[in-house]
Amino acid sequence: MIDFITALTPAALIHHAPALVVTVPLILSAFTAIMPSSRAAWGLCLSAALFVGWMVILLFGQLATQDVIVYAMGGWDAPMGITYRVDALNLQILALVASIGLLCVIYGYATVKDEIAKDKRPLFYSAFLICFAGLLGVTITGDAFNVFVFVEISSLATYALIAMGAERDRRALTASYNYLVLGTIGATFFVIGVGFLYMATGTLNMADMAGILAETGHTRVTQAAFAFIVVGLGLKAAMFPLHVWLPNAYATSPSFVTAFLASTATKVAFYALIRFLYAVYTPDTGFVMLSFTWVFAVVGVVGMILASVQALFQSDPRRLLAYSSVAQVGYMMLGLGLGNALGLAAALMHLVNHAIMKGALFMALGAFGLKFGISKISDLNGLGRTMPASAAAFTVAGISLIGIPLTIGFTSKWYLIIAVLERGWWWAVAAVIMSSLLALAYITRMLAAIWMENPPEHHGETVPKTRAPAMVLVPMGLLAFANVYFFFNADFIVGMAQRAASAVMGGQ
């Protein structure tokens, strides 16, 4: 399949695929903004997403024969020019962002029509493409400063996207503003860190930095850079307690944006964190190892419990799921904090799996929202009978979120627990199980409302059965199905995560 597509593609495209992945959506976003009709804008958006998917498949094909693809922008080699660098670690993230982006664009056709005013739709799609390109850029670039640029590109677009939820919920404006302030602080911290690193090493290329740091050793400057980068990217990744921007943003933005951001934005920031921790710094450095144990593992465990409790108390399903996302970031932080290859693989696996399940959950909430206003858990009452297909997708993804066998949620928790056991951290196993039980409680609350309560009534009559449009059902169904499919064919995700972990850990 991959070979077939590669064979059909002109050699120039294959060669420039790393650059085209980012530049094409970025350029098309300008054209999308001036499209006369929302349908044309959507079409352009879809073709950009399809093109990115195509390019990612080509990258898969190239990476099958080599360990790393290095692409020098404009022919300027590192350390002078900017290089794009694809290896097993970021290819996985690229594939995730590309496929979620594509599914979300398909899903968005109906929901954007429902939620965004007609004249703003081309601008909305344009902002989405910028955000999309920014996330892909953060993932693919091998240049530290370039990471900052793309973080800002995607963030600025995200602020706009969230604010567009204001038509439905005015609180979107404050949510967006809050995120803007915090996101800017995060990005600033990050760029300060990169600046320090530049000061210490004289280069911005990450691979180069790592080489120089390995030679010269660490100083107070690089340690300070480390702290700034960790906090800056941690804020973007919604690391507890820097997650405060996230629930409001997810709860008030348009369904399309929520589904997309929940499955990609924090994941990409988490990836960037891993890249810096493993590829620029090395985990066997004393202070990095210490921060694994005392920062990442601790905030991971505290975050997964507190955020889960908070989710339990929420009354708005979207906020509930948003807090649950914070808790899931906790699992990934714990996996990262273990500092071993198994833990990193478990974290990466959970990253992909969580994107799949949260994507399906938010899409299903959006599908409910198309027909009914959903702002309380009791608004979900009886939707199992009114909208069975969407409710079924929601249920499957919810079960996966709890981590019940036969779903991918189980797979990643399983690997995480094995990794934790390898370190012998029994308390962390207890915390993971505790948090899973809390997830059971908050998901059951919603599932009980969906399946056990009576359907909504209108003027004393039960609302008739209804169905979300096919364009909504298909991507949502695919993601829900993936929750089960990848349990039985776990090799794909597990193998990808393990290859990624061993790629960054090197021979360690």
Partner: protein
């Protein structure tokens, strides 16, 4: 072609037949499956080769679904035979639930026996629990429903213990192999507990007497064959030679005797005798010599057949009379002569009369115990052997078919039940006389044993005649506990009354809790001191729209922490 067949565990045809049976409404077709699947399984069993086969990738793990070796071979065969006999016994019954659940359960037990690693063992272990509970629920009354829930809870617990133990073990040893495990690690201990629950160790045994008598006529027969024997197999594989098992087993043989003698429900009496026979096997595993393990395998083989036969005969009585209460039966030999004969054959077998199968198998375990000089345990086993004769060998046939005539005149059991019982009876006698084929199947061919020696036969006859005399004497002087309507409280009181009470209380509380959860949230908004809500709720301090300035301070605080960590690092 044969290469391909070698990889298919005999369990698959049975499990698949069960799945198909679940969806076809035609009873005749289902019965065809119930009889055909074991035949297919037997063919696969015969064409199997020693070694690890049927390796499949599942969820990123490598599962060995078909390990065929000396130990699993004999268990596999008897499970297949039992499946066939059960199918035959249930031929008259039109119940889709029992048909499907029975087949899936039998197949899962067979698959668990052939499982080559702990993960596949766990999967099939849980499948037996989940499928078998439907056999209990198929009785479709409230008592059975409750007993089924208790049964399910206990067995799921066993599965969870097994999985946890396996996980810990895998993290220690780095693989999932299901070989000798031993008790010297926490993982091994958990797995031991999981096996112990299924094997009905003392104080974990109550699910058995609780659930088995409440299942349907056919359901009890099916249940009696697999779960506990599967656990015996697992123990033999994982804990052979574990000394503590000798004493656990000795207690298991002895204590049910007292309960069984005073019990009125004859199917419950048989459930106690399941415990008692398991005890012999557990002792054998504890001894762990080749002779002892041979004895365990042979006795498990014989036990499945004769215990099945006894449950079948009581099932036939229940089917025709509608009760198996000793106090309401009696004199049935006139109307059910064939069933009487088969029941007596079963009773003589379980009592280990010479020329019956249990004689050639149980004596092997006793000999192994004697060889290792466990004289105290040997004494307990001798006492228990006499006890078996008392409660299963004499009490069952005597109170059901003879004793005082209850005046009940019913038809003889249906033909299919009679045929199933006849085959089982023939097997009991055949294996008692021509035991060589059975001995050739045993896992360790280096341990030679000769059952029919002068002292074995005479010793056993003395024991049996003494016990018969004691029964007759007690009956004559009126000292034998007469058959009374009563419920005997075993240690199961704890979970039936106390535990059940707690569970029900918790359930009610949970119901109230969930019903009023919105209430509570609403009330806690106004109530002072409800800290949790103040912190976590949507308007709580953790979720409030904190001014961005405060957040900046938070961010700086975290920065300070990370810097401190980096600064303090060596």
């Amino acid at each position: 072609m044969t290469d391909f067949l070698v990889n298919i565990s005999p369990a698959w045809p049975i499990i698949i037949a069960g799945l198909i049976a679940a969806i076809i409404p035609n009873s005749n077709l289902r019965k065809g499956l119930a009889l055909g699947a074991p035949v297919l399984a037997a063919i696969l069993w015969m064409s199997a080769e020693h070694g690890q086969h049927g390796i499949i990738m599942f969820g990123g793990f490598e599962l060995t679904t078909f390990r065929f070796d000396g130990l699993s071979r004999i268990w596999g065969l008897v499970f297949i035979i039992a499946t066939f006999l059960n199918g035959l016994f249930g031929l008259h019954e039109k119940d889709r639930v029992t048909d499907a659940a029975g087949l899936i359960y039998s197949g899962a037990a067979l698959a668990a026996v052939f499982a080559g690693d702990l993960l596949s063992l766990f999967l099939f272990w849980e499948l037996t629990a989940i499928s078998s509970v439907f056999l209990i629920w198929a009785a479709r009354n409230k008592a059975a429903y409750r007993a089924g829930l208790r049964y399910l809870a206990v067995h799921v617990l066993s599965g969870v213990l097994l999985l946890t133990g396996a996980l810990i073990r895998a993290s220690e040893t780095g693989n999932w192999a299901f070989e000798h495990i031993g008790l010297d690690s926490p993982g091994g201990l958990l797995i031991f507990l999981a096996f112990g629950i299924k094997c009905a160790f003392p104080f974990m045994h109550n699910w058995l007497q609780d659930a088995y008598p409440k299942a349907t006529v056919v359901g009890t027969v099916i249940l009696s064959a697999f779960t506990t024997k599967m656990a015996v197999y697992a123990l033999a594989r994982g804990y052979a030679g574990e000394d503590s098992l000798i004493y656990i087993g000795a207690i298991m043989t002895a204590f049910p005797v007292f309960f069984a003698v005073v019990e009125n429900d004859l199917r419950k009496v048989l459930s106690y005798s399941v415990n008692n026979q398991l005890g012999f096997m557990v002792v054998g595993i504890g001894v762990g010599t080749h002779l002892a393990l041979n004895g365990v395998a042979a006795h498990a083989f014989a036990d499945i057949i004769f215990k099945g036969l006894l449950f079948m005969s009581m099932g036939a009585v229940l089917h025709r009379v509608g009760t198996v209460k000793a106090s309401e039966l009696g004199g049935l030999f006139k109307s059910m002569p064939l069933t009487t004969i088969f029941c007596i054959i079963g009773a003589m077998t379980i009592s280990a009369f010479p020329l019956f199968s249990a004689f050639v198998t149980k004596s092997m375990i006793l000999a192994a115990v004697a060889q290792e000089h466990h004289w105290l345990v040997f004494g307990v086993l001798i006492f228990a052997s006499a006890g078996v004769l008392e409660h299963s060998g004499i009490k069952i046939p005597y109170f059901a078919f003879f004793a005082h005539d209850s005046g009940k005149r019913v038809k003889e059991a249906p033909a299919n039940m009679l045929i199933a019982m006849a085959i089982a009876s023939v097997l009991c006698i055949f294996l008692g006389i021509y035991y060589v084929p059975l001995y050739n199947l045993l896992p360790f061919q280096d341990a030679v044993y000769e059952p029919y020696t002068f002292d074995h036969v005479v010793g056993q006859m003395q024991l049996l005649l003494g016990a018969i005399f004691a029964f007759a004497f007690l009956l004559k002087v009126g000292a034998y506990p007469s058959e009374k309507r009563s419920i005997n409280l075993d240690t199961d009181w704890f979970y039936r009354r106390f535990g059940d009470g707690i569970v029900r209380w918790a359930w009610t509380m949970l119901g109230r809790l969930s019903a009023s959860i919105d209430n509570v949230i609403a009330r806690s908004k106004t109530r002072m001191g409800s800290r949790l809500h103040e912190v976590f709720s949507p308007i709580g301090s953790l979720s409030r729209d904190i001014p961005s300035g405060v957040l900046t301070i938070w961010t700086s605080a975290l920065l300070a922490i990370v810097m401190l960590v980096a600064y303090l690092a060596p």
